[in-house]
Symmetry: C2
Subunit: 268 residues, 2 copies
């Protein structure tokens, strides 16, 4: 009796899920059925199902039953750029085009514009004093009608004072912000640095992305700092924070000469 009963039951259900006896979206036997089938108390059955729930294999719906989770078709974002630095995957200008190019539907909310005193994570990346004013533009993005990512881009408030007034308008900047900043301020983007990190979603993120309220599904946080040419090397131009659910996103980074096909989702 090395293996506790709840685990034996969990393993049996796991096996049925893996082999496809229980299909994705299908309903598990109810707690009562499992109880009679395994001659166990209801609490033991609940422990077994809990084991599966904690691993994200099944979902419980109060009043309905327990169901095998359905996998979402992953979306692939291109982070590399090669020649066309301005068109790569996470930025507003290129995002919708890339999504539609993959035969999926992209929707973006109108940007929510805020002026705030730069918190450390923005100030340090833009190399402006902490507490100095910055403009943030925040968008909610959908792919195929499902909430997909949250993106916030921050610019020094100085840009607005110098003439880039459209940064404050709660509308997409026509032609994209990159070319807008070039036209109005002569700022030319020459490179960018992406950071990828993984963490549990914040409350607000979990709500928009409809993630389960335990923190089982993490998010990928992509922080892109864009640089313009400066006298003393590249200087920060803007910084973009993108948050995507880890369970339905993949990333591709090309370097040097690679095949030209558009990479689809991979399995490993």
């Amino acid at each position: 009796m090395a293996e506790p009963m709840y685990r034996v039951i969990a393993m049996e259900l796991l096996d049925e899920i893996k082999t496809g006896t229980l299909e994705p979206g299908g309903q598990l036997p109810t707690e009562l059925e499992l109880r009679t089938r395994h001659q166990a108390s209801r609490n033991t059955i609940r422990d077994a199902v809990k084991w599966l729930t904690n691993r994200g294999l099944v979902e419980k719906k109060p009043g309905k039953g327990t169901f095998v989770v359905e996998r979402i078709d992953p979306y692939v974002t291109t982070l590399s750029s090669g020649t066309q630095a301005s068109l790569s995957g996470v930025e507003d200008e290129g995002w919708a085009a890339e999504v539609e190019g993959r035969g999926r539907t992209a929707t973006t909310s109108a940007p929510r514009v805020e002026v705030l005193e730069a918190p450390p994570r923005i100030a340090s990346r833009l190399r402006v004093p902490e507490g100095s004013e910055v403009v943030t533009r925040r968008q909610e993005r959908y792919i195929d009608r499902t909430p997909w990512s949250l993106q916030t881009t921050a610019y020094p408030m100085e840009y607005v004072r110098r003439g880039a007034a459209d940064l404050l308008r709660a509308q997409p900047v026509p032609g994209g912000t990159i070319s807008y900043l070039r036209r109005t301020l002569g700022l030319e983007q020459v490179g960018h640095r992406d950071r990828i990190l993984l963490r549990a979603p914040r409350e607000e993120e979990a709500r928009f992305l409809r993630l389960p309220d335990d923190n089982r599904v993490w998010v990928v946080s992509v922080i892109r700092t864009c640089y313009a040419a400066g006298d003393d090397g590249p200087v920060p131009l803007r910084v973009t924070f993108t948050v995507l659910p880890a369970d339905r996103n993949q990333f591709v980074i090309d370097s040097g000469q690679v095949p030209e096909d558009i990479p689809g989702p991979a399995i490993d």
Copy 2:
């Protein structure tokens, strides 16, 4: 009575963890103590602590107690390359150097060499027939003595027949495999494509990486396909699978002109 009791208790403990009243590594009150403190049954207390456990905030050690988890100093891997394609972060030649350059200690196990019939995930990437022979070289990597990543690289068996015999030796290839393949077979690497995907760890991976046996901590799977120049565009040279725990790894990708500092761990 909107909030169930076990959640109230969980929130109170969560607060103590967040504010630092309970320090990382510190012990929580025992179930008995919490029971008397909150006038609740032991099962209710256990539900509360379970809530924290499921979120990865505390760890239970049978016979000892419950403890606040300690965060691991994240390691930053560079995936971009710019000019020095052969030196970037996930490949054997550059890995140890990059780790030591960050002031940490890198250790690598001797490669475990296998000859096997190519499974689909390798065959399709190397563009060899499924079931044809390939050589895989697998290494376990440590940073600061803790298990950090598992890496497997696959080459077509044809390379060995054409003279790259050292691929079969269970030892590091002196000077690195890239230059070895160039010297022996004239194969020149001209680019690579990285894919980043996230998934639950396999049993074997969880064991080596010492991940909790629930699948709370996911792994980042980095699949790098390296290409050589061919008559009809780039042709696959080798493919490398790297698996790293998602809770202690970050990635940096540079593109174009960016500052030259070595990026440390970021917080978001």
